[in-house]
């Protein structure tokens, strides 16, 4: 079973890996976006880690709801509302149970990903974070490690796609050949989930 502490570890691990990878995310964002994805997410997840340390919510749902709200309040851009909604809606779907099992987490995360698709209007194949999150949730039923592998594969698979959402979409065909920064940061989030599970 996964308790609030597991979810705090997930968020802390995400903050650490976003810190490590911020420069790479920004570099990926520079040919097709506006070169700020890394610094924006870094600011947001640092705030998440600091808030969780201070407030220490007692349920898995409360951890994710608080993290999501913090991202919306600090990140800005498209990443703030999209990642914020992902975590908030996943947390909301978990309800106020003190512990959840992996099956419940998978279902809740699917609800979160659906909410992101609805908010951003993106579908798989549009060269966005959805291309990472959808296969990751599908594989999560199997194991955390499988979700991580599927996420990384999903992020890499955005390279040949033409962007249809977000700032990269304004480049049309010129967005082809670049890995999507949002899909890449989503892979970090899923990798941190597997790290929190010790896999």
């Amino acid at each position: 079973m996964l308790d609030a502490d597991f979810f705090r570890r997930w968020m802390t691990a995400t903050a650490a890996s976003v810190d490590r990878e911020a420069e790479r995310l920004t570099a990926l964002d520079s040919p097709i976006g506006d070169a700020d994805h890394g610094s924006n997410l870094q600011r947001g997840f640092r705030a998440v880690a600091a808030t969780l340390e201070k407030e220490a919510p007692q349920t898995p749902g409360a951890v994710l709801m608080l993290a999501g709200r913090q991202l919306i309040s600090t990140v800005g851009g498209a990443s703030g509302p999209l990642y914020g909604t992902l975590l908030r809606r996943t947390g909301k779907a978990l309800g106020d149970a003190a512990e959840v099992d992996e099956q419940e987490l998978t279902e809740a995360l699917r609800t979160g990903v659906d909410a992101v698709m609805q908010l951003g209007g993106a579908a798989p194949g549009d060269k966005t974070m959805i291309d990472t999150l959808v296969p990751a949730v599908d594989a999560l039923g199997e194991s955390f490690a499988a979700a991580r592998a599927a996420a990384e594969e999903g992020a890499l698979a955005t390279t040949p796609l033409q962007a249809r959402k977000g700032r990269a979409s304004y480049l049309g065909e010129r967005s082809i050949g670049h890995q999507d920064p949002g899909a890449t940061s989503s892979a970090l989030l899923i990798a941190a989930l597997s790290e929190a599970a010790g896999e």
Partner: protein, 330 residues
């Protein structure tokens, strides 16, 4: 790359502190990043709140004041502000007559303003929203995020601002803002990429002998790259791109806008060419504004925006305005 900054993390806050010192007629909340005209809320007046990433100065903070915006929310460089800022701004300027959010069509701005509208309405503030999407360089289709909002933002903020100043109700101010957007088109070119403080090097690689046609205002590349052209050729290309998309029957407002690193000498020369093309194409010009208004940090280049106006829109354009970035008649 040398920049006149301390560290990238404090660039926006430092600029706001400096703005506060230079403009005592504004209330600048540095911590929460909201710029409000000092006399807000003005009784009976609709509030106008705009915002977006920093790096486009004087947009938007420079357009706060009598006759234009009531408040502005600057985000991080090229990053939309967050809903908390917008809700705070709306609360500061709402006199009970409601607030109009002016939103440029970029995914981040749209999402954050949508969230803010919901939150502000929960607090009992009546909110209307208008989307600016004037950039003809982007194909508008179901499969993209739609056209970008660029230079027309200035026309919209000025004209809607004048209407609000006259005490018109929210529905009317919103309708006028929509009318300005529907009648405006823009096209931009970049002669160099820009440098964000966070990255410290140019956001894309543009060789000396080339230019980007159809750029937005965030240092992202444009729709195509060509060998460097003359001012005359760029004016032909830009104005024709706009006129392929609109056929003005009325006179137009012209904005020849610098991207930040192109001197006025070049902008005025470019304007001469823009005016020549408009004359050749039989488009009468009502007013022209030349300068750096909707910038992209240190990008070299310019954009052209045309807005077709009737008598009422022209009168509202001419109405007095007193802001840091735009000032006439008072």
């Amino acid at each position: 790359m040398k920049m006149l900054i301390n560290v990238a993390e404090t660039v926006v806050a430092d600029a706001l502190r400096g703005m506060a010192a230079a403009h005592p007629e504004l209330t600048v909340d540095v911590e929460n990043r909201v710029i409000v005209r000092r006399d807000a809320p003005v009784p009976g007046k609709v509030g106008l709140v705009s915002g977006g990433g920093s790096g486009h100065e004087p947009l938007h903070g420079g357009f706060v004041g009598p006759g234009m915006l009531s408040a502005a929310c600057p985000g991080e460089v090229f990053t939309s502000p967050v809903p908390d800022q917008m809700v705070r701004a709306a609360a500061a300027v709402d006199s009970g007559a409601g607030v109009l959010f002016i939103v440029k069509n970029y995914t981040g701005d749209v999402l954050n303003f949508d969230m803010a509208a919901e939150l502000a309405e929960d607090e009992g503030i009546q909110i209307a929203k208008v989307l600016v999407n004037d950039d003809v360089a982007v194909t508008d289709s179901l499969y993209t995020a739609g056209r970008r909002g660029t230079g027309a933002t200035l026309f919209l903020e000025k004209i809607a601002g004048a209407a609000a100043e006259e005490g018109r109700p929210l529905e009317r101010v919103e309708a006028l803002a929509r009318q300005v957007n529907e009648n405006s088109r823009s096209f931009g070119v970049a002669l160099s990429a820009c440098t964000t403080p966070a990255k410290g090097s140019p956001t894309f690689d543009l060789p000396p002998g080339e230019l980007e046609l159809g750029v937005g205002i965030h240092g992202e590349p444009g729709r195509e790259r060509r060998a460097m052209m003359t001012s005359r050729e760029i004016a032909d290309f830009s104005v024709n791109a706009i006129l392929e998309d609109m056929s003005p029957r009325n006179p137009v407002l012209v904005l020849v806008n610098g991207m930040g690193a192109t001197p006025l000498l070049e902008l005025y020369g470019f304007n001469a060419e823009v005016q020549r093309v408009l004359t050749e194409r039989g488009v009468p010009v009502a007013r022209t504004l030349v300068g750096n208004y909707v910038t992209s940090l240190d990008m070299a280049g310019a954009s052209v925006t045309l807005c077709q106006v009737d008598e009422e829109l022209l009168r509202l354009w001419d109405a007095p305005v007193r802001t840091a970035g735009l000032r006439w008649g008072m």
